[in-house]
Amino acid sequence: MQPEAVELVAFAAVALVLALLVAQPAASRRSLLLRGVVGLAGTAAVVAAPTFDLALLVLLAIAILHSAIDARRTFAARVHLPVLGVGLLTLAALFARVSGAEVLERFAAVGLAAGLAALVGVLPYIHTFDPDEPVSSSPVAWLAYIGPAAAVVVVADAQGLLAADAGAAFGASLVGIGLLNMVWGSVAAWLTETTAAAWRYSFIADWGLALCGFGITLADGKRAALVVLFSIVLGRLPLYFASREAVKQKVVTERPINLLVAAALAGSAPFAGFSARVLLLRGATQLYWPLALVLAAGMLLWLPASLRLGRSLGVPRGRHALGVAAVLALNVAVGLYPLPLLAAARL
């Protein structure tokens, strides 16, 4: 088992507790708990699967169950991308395993990167999105709950399957897809019409950073990816839950708490996103310094979108405020001192 993946499953469990704390109607809390526990069990099974093929089959089972949940989009619309992801990953693994022409390894590398993108639901494959759909049946479940641990498993298995040359091609593909998601996600989160869609694009932008981290095949890249995934699961996801009611009522507030949340979402110091960005830039500088320049420029795009999303939170009160405070405290703790998190993942 990958220690990072185990850690991400634990983060998902904490995120579920935080989501239950900030979720608004009591009825939705009960169904959220049930769906969250099933999703968590499935994600844990993916992490515990002893072989890549078994992990893919568990992911397929999760995809069918998730798509069967009562929701506003059709079953077919929800199952398309995970099925595409599993299909691409299976074919890519086949290409990596068999002997034959040299080009097969390259196809395997590109297929693994494309399959990962499809499975999580980031560009160039993104799910259809309905802003009024419950979070548990929306694409956000793949982006922020099941996806992070699954991605760690896929990346680790992919690196085991591929030879050195193809591994470099896999890393380059991930960096390419990551840059695309960074730019597209952050610009779309800033300029898209509805605030719920802006939140969805902000997850995609964060995934861009995580994919770049996975692609930079140095220790700092892996560390950056883990901290970014932490900030998705235990930062952006609970804050998205907390903002749901205010987004529905189109409430926009500009209190200090909104600025704090915006700072956390933008990855500014002292939050977890900041240490992730520093690690990513350090890794990129070691690998190929012009990449660090591109990444630094791309990171500036988070600012306008984060201000928009921070304002959409409203003014949290009661248990809602408690949940938001817990999220911010966790992110400050990891931002100031990420070492225990990285040491637990043996990074």
């Binding site: 929701a71 086949l94 022409a101």
Partner: protein, 180 residues
């Protein structure tokens, strides 16, 4: 010989799933594809795993006979692009599996590429829930069959899980989406 026959049956079954819109056609495709995948997996996975794959496909096919659009509806009007996909997909899988790749288990390689390609395309191209579920059930069997191409012996687990996915997915209650 057995491997070749199994590979042909698997392609034929996947092609039937692609070409059918009715429950009988989809069920027949599931039966034929599952039988082919089970046959072709026999040498790498052993009798128990092959039987599991066959049983999973059998249950999925029987269930499909009871739900979905009535009748066969094999190659309904306007299905020429799907027919072209089946033939071209089969030829590409044959070329990649036999010429580009080398080594043992050529039939299994062809089966995995052809079945995942065809059923994946069917699942992505259809909005009809029974059709998508049928394609996903057959795809699960092919994903398990691919485990036989790994360096280590995968054991019974992937085959059993794939059979369970194929069998149970056809029973999953799918509700109509709620209106706004």
């Amino acid at each position: 010989m057995v491997e070749g026959a199994g590979a042909f049956l698997a392609w034929l079954g996947a092609a039937l799933v692609v070409l059918s819109d009715g429950r009988r056609g989809l069920a027949l495709g599931t039966f034929v594809a599952a039988a082919g995948i089970a046959l072709v997996s026999f040498s790498t996975a052993g009798p128990a795993a092959s039987a599991a794959l066959g049983l999973g496909g059998l249950i999925a096919g029987v269930r499909r006979l009871t739900t979905g659009r009535p009748g066969w509806a094999i190659m309904p009007a306007g299905s020429t692009p799907r027919l072209v996909l089946c033939v071209a997909g089969g030829l590409v899988a044959l070329w990649v599996g036999l010429t580009v790749m080398s080594g043992d288990d050529a039939g299994l390689r062809f089966t995995v590429i052809a079945v995942i390609g065809l059923t994946g395309a069917r699942a992505l191209g259809s909005e009809d829930t029974p059709t998508v579920l049928t394609a996903v059930a057959v795809l699960a069997l092919a994903v398990a069959a691919a485990a036989g191409l790994g360096a280590d012996h995968p054991g019974l687990a992937p085959y059993g899980l794939a059979a369970a996915i194929a069998a149970i997915s056809s029973w999953v209650p799918i509700r109509t989406p709620r209106a706004a």
